[in-house]
């Protein structure tokens, strides 16, 4: 410990960091997203990605999916703090390596290149459910859905194959099988 003159304790050793997907069901009302995001920034939690949209118009419910990293204690705090927010209905918490949960991100990739390069690019996306949304003789827009890491890899590969623009969503999650989260 250095000769700190702080009025506060020095940080203790950080525990192991895990990546979790936190799913939050909230009332779709004004400023609800800022409450959730503000909780993260205010308490120093990390947000890797964020996806949010209304899922039930009648009940005015939105589902927020947040990918975050933290020690087990921090993840526990995130869940408990979220549950305290008034517009929050329920909170789901899944480890990223949980086999019973599907995680997906979507990306739109624009490639501007000659036809042989475009072909190669499409080939590189083969494994990730590519959908061609637009095509000209000099360009193509491909939609893929995959894990974050996979999209990272694809975009890295495509840099040399004419990728000029990539637009990505945050992860969304769904449990496998007939079970639903309560």
């Amino acid at each position: 410990m250095s000769k700190s003159k702080s009025a506060y304790s020095t940080p203790t050793k950080l525990g192991k960091l895990d990546t979790h997907i936190i799913v939050v069901w909230v009332d779709n009302e004004a400023s609800v997203l800022s409450r959730v995001v503000g909780l993260f920034s205010g308490r120093g939690y990390n947000i890797e990605s964020l996806a949010v949209a209304e899922i039930d118009h009648k009940k005015s419910l939105s589902r927020i999916t947040i990918v975050t990293t933290g020690t087990p204690q921090v993840i526990e705090q995130i869940v408990l703090q979220l549950k305290k927010l008034v517009p929050v209905h329920k909170v789901g918490n899944f480890k990223r390596d949980n086999k019973n949960v599907i995680f997906k991100e979507m990306a739109l990739l624009k490639i501007v290149a000659n036809s042989s390069k475009i072909k190669k690019a499409l080939n590189a996306c083969k494994k990730y459910n590519p959908v061609i949304l637009d095509q000209t003789n000099k360009s193509i827009v491909i939609q893929i859905t995959a894990l974050r890491k996979e999209i990272d890899n694809v975009t890295k590969n495509l840099k040399t194959r004419g990728l000029v623009s990539a637009s990505r969503t945050g992860a969304v999650a769904m449990t496998r099988g007939a079970e639903i989260f309560n």
Binding site: K3, S6, S9, T10, S34
Partner: protein, 588 residues
């Protein structure tokens, strides 16, 4: 046809149905319709403060001394930003406040209109919840929900921002619904198994200690009674946080005094050496725990709290019981009695060694100080104030700093809701407006703000409020001309470089009192102190008492720097033996 009410009328109808008797506020352009409506509601008395921060702290003092939510009414823009400190203070110390703020008319929101600010944005991190009312039809529901949120679970501040056009608009009024469910957020989640586990741990413990906090007081007077019964039933020692003082009688033999950075030697050592730590309504604040790695290393830890997010936040515990303190204690004592499990007798032998150890620590007399016959020692001043006021029901507020710690150490509280201090946020300037609020709630009682001369100048203007409403608060300033706690740290940690902690110019507090229309008293030497304090108590008007104390006195004992609970720094005598090492400086 159903009668329609204006937004301003609805605000007051809600306040009436919520049984609000006092509101603290300051008018301005964006709340004028509400102020216009005030005259039609004689059961609600408005206290005009001199600054919105004062309104917030006054409402806090009101709430903490009465157990009812404090209500604040401010205007838009600066009115709202001025109240932010008080909202944050209430948030940190779990005080129920309902703040109503005016806002510019709906169509001007977002245009940088005159006295506009993003009030709900600014106050989001310092309230439990806030609302911007955009539709008059939502107003009754939101107002009632605001009171629900503020007072349920772990209490805290909320804010309702009402644009001026909404205050004029008309709608139907609804009474509050009984038993509103806040999406399952009312928490009494414990079950019999938890209680059985707790009793099992209690029956096995050789060195148990209760560590109780503000949660007991927030749970209500009943919780404090139940706590006393539990402590007496078990025979266990008990220590309290700053906010918990008064939940258990300060002069009782089982009470070890306050714990933490400036807690007693016996309380901190008991925390360190215990084998069972039962936290009731406290939150393992960093001023309590000191160095986390070495906090109470040998103990099983139990945490009873209504707020699930307080559990395992700082300290991992072995048993957590989420619920209202009163109900958990009630269930515990019932079970103890049912099993005819009188720990006091059966375990007396078991924990007698523990009590002997505690007695040894007590002989250190860690609150002792070297008194003087020529200069008033601040600890002596608090002791005399206590002795001369203990025979009447006295309410104490404080500012923040050395005087606050001395008050906590030397003033013994026997009842809950008698001690109002800013613990979490540490807001200098809290005590005077808080005293105003306390006196409003308890007009006939003695209310003393134990203050420092630096803190008091931060919200001095509120003495004018006290004069206006004939609130006979006593401002007991322990004047050492320094920001004492800053000076103490500079002395101990920064090589006596007293950078900007000395006030070279201070007002003459006696003349200042007279200028405000109240009474000023000055005490300079120990032999006149008692007589002057008696004079202060006898005056039925606001008094500013300028008690000129030793400038160099430091607040001991203290847990220095990177040290655990069992390595405290005691008073001047002890210090030569235990110099703070370089390593130790970090935690002070």
């Amino acid at each position: 046809m159903v009668k329609l009410y204006s937004g301003a009328e609805i605000v007051f109808k809600c306040l009436e149905d919520q049984k609000v008797e006092h509101i603290f506020g300051y008018p301005g352009g964006a709340v004028l319709p509400i102020y216009d409506e005030l005259k039609n509601h004689p059961t609600i008395k408005h206290i005009l403060v001199r600054h919105e921060q004062g309104a917030g702290h006054a409402a806090e003092g009101y709430a903490r001394s009465s157990g009812k939510p404090g209500v604040v009414l401010v205007t838009s823009g600066p009115g709202a930003t001025n109240v932010v400190t008080a909202l944050t203070d209430a948030y940190m110390d779990s005080v129920p406040l309902v703040c109503i703020s005016g806002q510019v008319p709906t169509h001007l929101i977002g245009t940088d209109a005159f006295q506009e600010c993003d009030t709900t944005g600014i106050t989001r991190p310092c309230t439990k919840h806030n609302w911007l009312v955009k539709d008059i039809n939502d107003l009754p529901r939101i107002m009632h929900e605001a009171f629900d949120v503020a007072t349920s679970g772990r209490p805290g501040p909320v804010l309702v921002d009402i644009p001026k056009d909404i205050q004029f608009a008309k709608a139907k009024y609804f009474k509050p619904k009984k038993e509103k469910k806040l999406k399952g957020k009312i928490l009494n989640k414990f079950n019999q198994k938890d209680i059985d586990q707790l009793i099992n741990l209690m029956s096995k413990a050789l060195k148990p200690v209760f560590y109780t906090g503000g949660g007991v007081i927030n749970s209500g007077p009943k919780a404090c009674e139940l706590l006393r019964e539990l402590v007496s039933l078990t025979g266990f020692p008990i220590t309290s946080t700053l906010q918990g003082l008064g939940a258990y009688p300060g002069d009782d033999n089982q009470f070890l005094g306050m714990l933490g950075m400036h807690g007693t030697y016996e309380a901190n050592n008991a925390m360190h050496d215990c084998d069972l730590l039962i936290n009731i309504g406290a939150r393992f604040d960093d001023r309590i725990t000191g160095k986390i790695d070495e906090f109470s290393p040998k103990s099983k830890k139990v945490h009873i709290d209504i707020d699930p997010s307080s559990i395992n936040k700082i300290i991992k515990v072995d048993l957590s019981i989420v619920g209202d303190v009163a109900e958990v204690i009630n269930s515990t004592t019932k079970n103890l009695k049912k099993k005819n499990f009188n720990l006091k007798n059966s375990n007396k032998q078991k924990i007698s060694n523990w009590w002997q150890q505690i007695q040894k620590w007590r002989t250190k007399k860690s609150l002792n100080f070297v008194n003087s016959s020529t200069i008033i020692k601040p600890q002596h001043a608090v002791q005399r104030l206590y002795e001369l006021t203990k025979n009447q029901d006295t309410y104490i507020t404080t500012e923040v700093g050395q005087h606050q710690m001395w008050a906590a150490q030397h003033y013994k509280f026997n009842k809950p809701n008698r001690w109002m201090t800013s613990g979490g946020l540490g807001t200098m300037g809290y005590g005077l407006p808080a005293a105003v609020g306390v006196q409003v709630a308890h007009p006939k009682k003695l209310v003393v703000d134990i203050a420092g001369e630096a803190s008091i100048l931060m919200t001095m203007q509120e003495i004018s409020t006290a004069v206006q409403y004939n609130l006979p608060i006593k401002i007991f300033i322990m004047n050492n001309q320094y920001m004492g706690m800053v000076r103490q740290w500079q002395e101990l940690l920064h090589e006596k470089n007293y950078s900007e902690s000395y006030s070279e110019a201070l007002p003459d507090f006696v003349k200042l009192a007279e200028a405000y229309g109240c009474v000023g008293i000055r005490a300079k030497s120990p032999d006149e102190l008692d007589e002057k304090i008696r004079e202060m108590i006898s005056i039925d008007r606001p008094v500013i008492f300028d008690c000129q104390v030793d400038q160099d006195e430091n607040c001991y004992p203290m847990i220095p720097s990177g040290k655990p609970h069992n390595q405290m720094l005691l008073g001047p005598k002890d210090q030569d033996e235990n110099k703070i090492t370089g390593k130790g400086k970090a935690l002070v």
